[in-house]
């Protein structure tokens, strides 16, 4: 049995391209319900307008990544960008995947074809990440239109958000593979919402007492914001950004490996 496990999971078939067939399938499905995708884009835009622009008018400036003062809106916008990548990826890799896994038997049908559990993991994570990318790209355009991009480094913000989305999709799908029922998705909300509110999205790390700072620094979204904020503001660009990027590479790899293993265990009984 262990031999089977090894031979079925090890060749991560990105190169084989079969995983893209899942992306094709999802594109076909969403072509009819594109409105559902569009709605997900508005959420961070509304936050940007209300908190960034609205409250920003009261707050004025805050300390940016390099300590110099920047406009509050320019401070919040990149954080919302990272959060939109997270949300887009998590939407698809949790609820939608769970439905296909437990109820629609979508993956059982796929496994009667040359597709294996690893293809399914890669395919769904790619798709969730693409959805996250779509949100990030449009949000970046909104930022540009509102004059919230202050640096050419911002060009790297898109690949950065793609990486963030990939990691969140992989971890989201891995977590979903452990879910027993719909009520378990409360835990996803329990993780996402505080992360969204407190990972230096709306105020800098310095407002927290030291012990809480350490907790915040452990959250993935914190690393996402630390990665993206210097890129769009052009302040605090340094080698440290690579560290945050590597953090997400590692997270994505772990999430993908766990997902493939779990799918194999759940589907190939």
């Amino acid at each position: 049995m262990t031999v089977n496990l090894a031979t079925r999971t090890t060749p991560m078939p990105l190169a084989g391209g079969l995983a893209w067939r899942l992306v094709e399938r999802n594109l076909l499905v969403y072509r009819r319900i594109w409105l559902l995708i569009v709605s997900g884009f508005f959420e961070p835009v509304f936050y940007l307008l209300s908190l960034g622009v609205g409250i920003g008018a009261l707050v004025g400036t805050v300390a940016g990544p390099d300590g110099r003062a920047i406009e509050y809106t320019a401070f919040v916008a990149p954080a919302l960008l990272a959060a939109s990548a997270m949300n887009g990826a998590v939407y698809d890799s949790t609820m939608n995947v769970f439905f296909k896994l437990k109820y629609a038997k979508t993956y059982d049908a796929m496994l009667s074809t040359p597709l294996g559990p690893a293809d399914i993991a890669v395919g769904e994570i790619l798709w969730a990440q693409l959805r996250g990318t779509l949100y990030s790209a449009t949000f970046l355009l909104v930022m540009a239109a509102l004059g919230l991009i202050d640096s050419w480094w911002a060009l790297l913000a898109l690949p950065a958000t793609m990486l963030i989305g990939l990691a969140f999709a992989a971890v989201g799908m891995a977590a979903t593979s452990f879910m027993r029922g719909w009520q378990d998705f409360e835990f996803v909300q329990l993780a996402i919402l505080p992360m969204f509110l407190f990972s230096t999205t709306f105020f800098p790390l310095s407002v927290y007492p030291r012990p809480l700072q350490l907790v915040v620094q452990l959250t993935p979204l914190f690393h996402g914001i630390e990665l993206v904020r210097p890129l769009t503001t052009g302040a605090g660009i340094g080698i440290g950004l690579l560290g945050h990027a590597l953090y997400f590479v590692g997270l994505a790899a772990i999430g993908l490996a766990v997902t493939a293993r779990r799918l194999e265990k759940l589907l190939l009984k």
């Binding site: 031979t7 067939r21 629609a104 049908a109 040359p114």
Partner: protein
């Protein structure tokens, strides 16, 4: 047992075993399926049919024993084998988020087939399963029989060498079953090897050239429907009804008229080579049955003899 040509032997199992923890679902069975035949696994619920099918379909690792499908080992060549199989699962697993035609198109893509080829095959298959006028309908809107037919069409998109059908007509009305049987019969004529599980004896008699009867994880009988009837039942069965409660007593008075007599709560079953002669003898002995019926022996008789009349859940 002489080993047939491996190229003609599409499934080859020796001592095939599947265990789930302490529970043994399949216990060391030997099976050979030859190219072009329709092969059936018969058995009550929980006999191990579906577990065997899942192992052949390369979606369930073999616990013990040898299994070769199309000459290869599912443990190492699973994807290669699955690319050449068609699978009709027990539970419909159609993609509810897609239309009838899209189900075929997308499924074909999972096999890595080029789009123009899939489009062409999809039209042919929709015609074959009589769903052309439903091509743009949502799967949800289809009847049970239509869903089954679509599942069969989907399983044929890669032009499989072997079609695996797990209880293909369970839950269908008689009309839908006959349409399905007709399609399966045509496939068989086209040379597709069929492997199916069923607990419907008429289905097995209609479709299978050869079958095995499974009970409690073992194979208990093997052969063509006619061979099995010859071996485990008699040619004809006389069903004799007496007044309620008399059957046990009457069994002794007729048991010499056939090879075997079985007592049921409401009737006696007399297994015999010549039903009319036995029926006449019952009357000659002045036993005055309330009712009497001579019928041909069926696989159902074999099945009940081999697997018992006790309810299996």
């Amino acid at each position: 047992m002489t080993e047939p040509d491996p190229a003609e032997q599409l499934v080859h199992a020796r001592g095939l075993t599947k265990r789930f923890g302490d529970f043994t679902a399949v216990d060391g069975i030997d099976v050979d399926v030859r190219r072009g035949e329709a092969f059936g696994f018969l058995g009550p619920n929980g006999a191990g049919k579906s577990s065997t099918m899942r192992m052949i379909a390369c979606v369930s690792p073999v616990t013990d024993g040898t299994l070769r499908v199309l000459g290869r080992d599912p443990a190492t060549d699973g994807a290669w084998i699955r690319g050449r199989l068609g699978v009709v699962p027990q539970e419909d697993s159609l993609d509810l988020e897609l239309t009838v035609r899209e189900n075929l198109l997308v499924y074909g893509r999972y096999f890595g087939l080029p789009k123009p080829l899939i489009r062409e095959r999809a039209e042919e298959l929709l015609d074959f399963v009589q769903l052309t006028d439903k091509r743009d309908a949502k799967v949800d809107a289809l009847s049970g029989g239509m869903k089954r037919r679509l599942t069969i069409a989907r399983s044929l998109i890669n032009e499989p060498e072997v079609l695996l059908l797990d209880e293909p007509t369970t839950g269908l009305d008689p009309q839908a079953r006959h349409v399905l049987w007709d399609r399966l019969f045509r496939l068989k004529q086209q040379g597709v090897t069929l492997i199916l599980t069923t607990h419907y004896m008429d289905e097995a008699e209609q479709l299978c050239d050869r079958l095995v009867v499974m009970d409690k994880a073992h194979i208990v009988a093997e052969g063509s429907p006619a061979e099995l009837i010859g071996q485990w039942s008699a040619r004809e069965v006389v069903e004799v009804r007496f007044a309620p409660g008399d059957h046990e007593a009457m069994a002794g008075k007729v048991e010499d008229l056939g090879s075997r007599v079985e007592v049921l709560p409401d009737r006696l079953l007399l297994y015999t080579e010549d039903g009319d002669a036995a029926a006449a003898a019952v009357h000659e002995r002045g036993l005055h049955p309330v009712g009497l019926l001579v019928r041909r022996s069926t696989l159902e008789d074999v099945f009940l003899r081999l697997t018992g009349r006790t309810l299996v859940d």
